[in-house]
């Protein structure tokens, strides 16, 4: 484990500890209407104490509305929101045990950094000196030691975010709500803050609820992710399960890249579904990898991730199955190369060409292949997901 690595988040022990934790936020049948617009359509979810939970979805899917109903900034049309077992119906935002990091950070421009961080301590019974010490400690926690007397309008984006975090965490909320907190930062800064947020969450042990449209961010940071479309939760799972076994084509498309080939279902046993797909032939798909198709789909399809299959070096042997094809396109990324390969016979049922994308890590000694050369693709039935 390097210093950059936040640690084994997805170990079995961590998952077991999470599964046993008591519920912190319980949302039951929550509906939200804005006039004619139906923003939340029956949300049910339970977020456990100490969990890093993400609401992921495209803009307009209702994820921010859901976060704001937890914070108390939006009334719900019907349903129940419980925080730590207490019904929040009659509890205004300023009395909820939650604090929020706003997308714009909402740093008070007329106050210094220390005054911002200490804003919520007004009614704290501690002495002035104790509060000042708490502010300094909170600033140190987010890496802004000694910044207290600075004017807040002179801060960079990353520093503003840290101030917003310190200002929320100093109040020791039961739940910290983060509304797209990293979207305003540049890529390097964003990746650094992702790691820092994970560490911080583990250090303080507070339940974090993150709203993001960035699937990579959700995968990196979360214990569990709820993927939302049009005011509904499409799938709720851990990052690995979400990536490896999306329960619908839509989720599969939203999280990373997935290749799809049309499939024909031939038969079904208790453990597997037998299908035929152009370019792959007959395959038995285990029941665990069978998901549902979306209403708009033309018919059943199989999907696989670009890195779940690989290009076989000439003359190499493999225990996996092999499909032949021609390299259509090569995209070189430095650490990775993406190949678009047209599998033999993939024109299949309707004669339409469907090149599949294959991602190969550029390890030492492996040459980048040329466009137009023949290639063998190695794959295994376990890496396929059937959508029907």
């Amino acid at each position: 484990m390097t210093t950059q690595n936040p640690g084994p988040k997805t170990t079995a022990a961590h998952r077991a500890a999470m599964a046993g934790a008591r519920p912190m936020i319980e949302i039951r049948q929550v509906q939200k209407h804005y006039g004619d617009y139906h923003a939340l359509r029956g949300i049910d979810l339970t977020i456990r104490s100490g969990e890093f939970f993400s609401l992921l979805g495209p803009s307009g899917c209702g994820k921010t509305t859901l976060l704001r109903t937890i914070a108390g900034f939006e009334d719900i049309s019907s349903g129940v929101v419980l925080i730590d077992g207490q019904d929040m119906q009659e509890v205004p935002a300023n009395r909820r045990p939650t604090n929020m990091v706003f997308q714009s950070y909402a740093i008070f421009p007329h106050l210094t950094v220390a005054e911002n961080v200490g804003f919520g301590l007004r009614r704290d019974p501690r002495s002035r000196a104790e509060k000042a010490a708490a502010v300094e400690q909170a600033l140190e926690m987010v890496g802004l030691k000694g910044y207290g007397s600075r004017a807040s309008h002179a801060l960079s984006g990353g520093q503003r975010q840290r101030v917003a975090l310190a200002r929320a965490l100093i109040l020791k909320p039961k739940v910290l709500l983060l509304d797209e907190p990293l979207s305003a930062l540049d890529r390097k800064m964003r990746e650094q803050m992702q790691v820092e947020l994970i560490k911080l969450q583990r250090q303080v042990g507070i339940t974090f609820v993150l709203v993001t449209h960035d699937q990579e961010e959700a995968l990196v940071m979360s214990d569990r992710i709820a993927v939302m479309f049009e005011g509904q939760i499409a799938q709720m799972d851990g990052p690995e399960a979400l990536y490896a076994r999306p329960t619908s084509r839509r989720v599969a498309n939203f999280i990373g890249v997935m290749n799809f080939l049309p499939a024909r279902v031939l038969g079904e046993t208790g453990e597997a579904v037998q299908i035929e797909a152009p370019g792959l032939g007959r395959v038995d798909i285990p029941m665990a990898n069978v998901s549902r198709a979306d209403p708009g789909d033309a018919g059943p399809s199989v999907g696989f991730r670009p890195e779940a299959v690989s290009l076989l070096a000439t003359g190499a042997q493999t225990a996996n199955r092999v499909a032949g094809g021609v390299i259509d396109e090569v995209v070189y990324y430095g650490d990775m190369t993406y190949y678009d390969v047209r599998l033999d016979g993939s024109a299949g049922f309707d004669g339409q060409a469907r090149p599949v994308r294959i991602a190969m890590r550029n390890v030492f000694g492996r040459e980048v292949q040329d466009v137009g050369t023949r290639a063998n693709v190695s794959w295994s039935p376990g890496s396929l997901v059937l959508f029907r």
């Binding site: 300023n94 939650t98 929020m100 706003f102 929320a168």
Partner: protein, 289 residues
């Protein structure tokens, strides 16, 4: 590069020349003339062009000047206070309660008083507040009073009412703009950090609106000190302010050096008070313009 800069400078000068010339002609030149006059001697109906400080000595030692200057400052301060205190809720309503599509219409409504000349609006207040005015005849018709009320016209209160009404839009607009610039998520952050709406207003909204309040106060304070029409009409000419005193010296008594010295002195006092006001706000409220 240098020639490019020079031609750009020339272009800039050409652009500002007409308004600059106008400003020099109608603002700087009269001001300098007044300044020069204030150091000249008065030779009964003529101006003797000899340097003297006698005018200023007279002004500063004149008890009537002290009284009228203090009254002008007092009336202006009262008008400023009344106007800003009444304008703030209107600006707040405009910024927070009116939907964005309707804001332009509301701003338009607020400017409607400007469609009538200032002089006529002041005169109409006389009609409203007068001995046989709207209020008195109304109350008499209702049988609430037998004799007309006399304390509602020809006094400082009536002047404050008239001036506060005349300057209301000037106070509403800067406060409205300051409120519009406040990021609404700051108010949510205040609530999120445990404060009620009222305390959030006190700790977040009001401090952030202060630049607008300061601007409004100055915009109302400076012209009301020098107001001439309202003391003449609403004050009944019996409670003059500094502008009336200057007018009397300049025209009625034809003592231009003395009138000029009065004008320059009043201008200096207003300038010093305004600068002190801005400095105090910057110092104690952290107001940043």
């Amino acid at each position: 590069m240098a020639s490019g800069n020079r031609s750009q400078t020339a272009q800039g000068l050409a652009l500002v020349a007409p308004p600059l010339g106008y400003a020099v002609l109608v603002l700087a030149a009269p001001l300098l003339t007044i300044l020069a006059y204030s150091f000249f001697k008065d030779g009964y109906l003529t101006v003797v062009r000899e340097f003297t400080l006698e005018n200023y000595r007279t002004v500063w030692s004149d008890p009537i000047f002290h009284k009228i200057m203090l009254r002008s400052l007092g009336v202006a301060a009262l008008v400023t206070l009344a106007t800003v205190v009444l304008a703030f809720p209107v600006a707040y309503f405009l910024s927070f309660a009116v939907s964005p599509q309707k804001k332009a219409m509301w701003l338009f409504l607020i400017t409607i008083p400007f469609w009538t000349s200032y002089l006529i609006r002041v005169f109409l207040w006389k009609v409203i507040l007068g001995y046989n005015g709207v209020i008195n005849s109304g109350l008499k018709t209702l049988g609430l009073i037998e004799q007309p009320l006399t304390f509602i016209l020809y006094n400082v209160n009536a002047m404050v009412i008239t001036l506060a009404h005349a300057y209301a839009p000037f106070a509403i607009l800067p406060i409205f703009i300051a409120l519009e610039k406040i990021d609404r998520s700051l108010l949510e952050a205040g609530r999120d950090l445990g404060e009620s709406r009222a305390v959030t207003f006190w700790r977040v909204t009001l401090p952030l609106a202060m630049p607008g309040v300061v601007a409004a106060a100055l915009i109302v304070f400076i012209p009301t000190i020098g107001d001439y029409v309202t003391p003449a009409l609403i004050g009944g000419g019996k409670i003059p302010m500094i502008a009336n005193m200057i007018q009397a010296q300049m025209l009625d008594l034809d003592n231009r050096p003395m009138g000029s010295a009065l004008a320059v002195t009043a201008m200096l006092i207003v300038a010093v008070i305004s600068l002190a006001f801005v400095a105090l706000n910057r110092r104690f409220l952290g107001v940043r313009q």
